[in-house]
Amino acid sequence: MNDILQNLVILQDLDEMISELNNDEIITQQEEMGFEINGLEKLIEAREELIKRIPLEIFNHYNRVRSRYGRAIAPVRENICLGCFIKIPTQISSREMGNQVLRNCENCGRYLYWV
């Protein structure tokens, strides 16, 4: 798997986790179920470390797409970008092949991840 893509997927999951922590309703739900939530600073530190492993221009693109659509990486299934539901023109026959290279959807610009 492409290293940058792997880091981008982790970054997006982490960003979602961090934004959930700013949602009081979600925190309350978790606490009511018996889970401790107290390490937000550690997650923010982990994010800083992760960003260092992503080239700046890619990180900037990630932020631009994220502010436009909420998420900057779209899952792909059956060669369809699940961000905008457009078929990917390149012939890709496996998840291995799809995730070997960092690709953008030609239509919406999201980075593509074959799930």
Partner: protein
């Protein structure tokens, strides 16, 4: 969440009768590797990284021998549940300091609607003392499913 729907999330291919690992860190790896070999996820490392980060946020051990590591990840195709047993127990930084004997791992794609209802139902079931004690003694998927089914049908 309907009984049958809840039960269907448990899969014998995703049931570990006895973890080979002896630490929390290695157990997370063992789970992620099983998710990769069963093709539930493309790459184990993504889930390892994320579950470790989730633990940094606060332990997912809820005490009394049970831990429920859970997170949403775009690496997940669908809501996926792994159950693993560790009869000898493993330290999971539980608030009551009890070693963990059953681990439930739940991963779901970002917008999966069943994620919270499933988690809520599972927590409810584990709060029932009789069910919890019986679960801590199960040895196989068959025995596990029997206990869960009985709780749900007697509810």
């Amino acid at each position: 969440m309907l009984l049958e729907q809840f039960l269907n999330f448990f899969d014998s291919d995703l049931f570990i009768e006895d973890f080979t690992s002896h630490t929390k860190k290695d157990i997370i790896k063992e789970i992620a590797n099983l998710l990769e070999t069963t093709k539930k996820i493309f790459k184990a490392e993504i889930i390892i990284d994320l579950l470790e980060k989730r633990e940094q946020l606060g332990t997912t051990a809820i005490g009394k021998g049970i831990a429920i590591p859970h997170c949403r990840s775009m690496a997940a195709k669908e809501l996926t549940v792994i159950v693993g047993l560790k009869p000898e127990g493993v330290d999971f930084d539980a608030p009551d300091h009890h070693p963990i004997k059953i681990v439930f791992v739940i991963i779901a794609p970002p917008q999966d609607v069943n994620y919270l209802p499933f988690l809520g139902k599972l927590v409810e079931l584990l709060r029932d003392e009789t069910t919890r004690k019986r679960l801590l003694r199960v040895k196989s998927f068959k025995g596990f499913k029997k206990v869960i089914t009985e709780f749900l049908t007697n509810e």
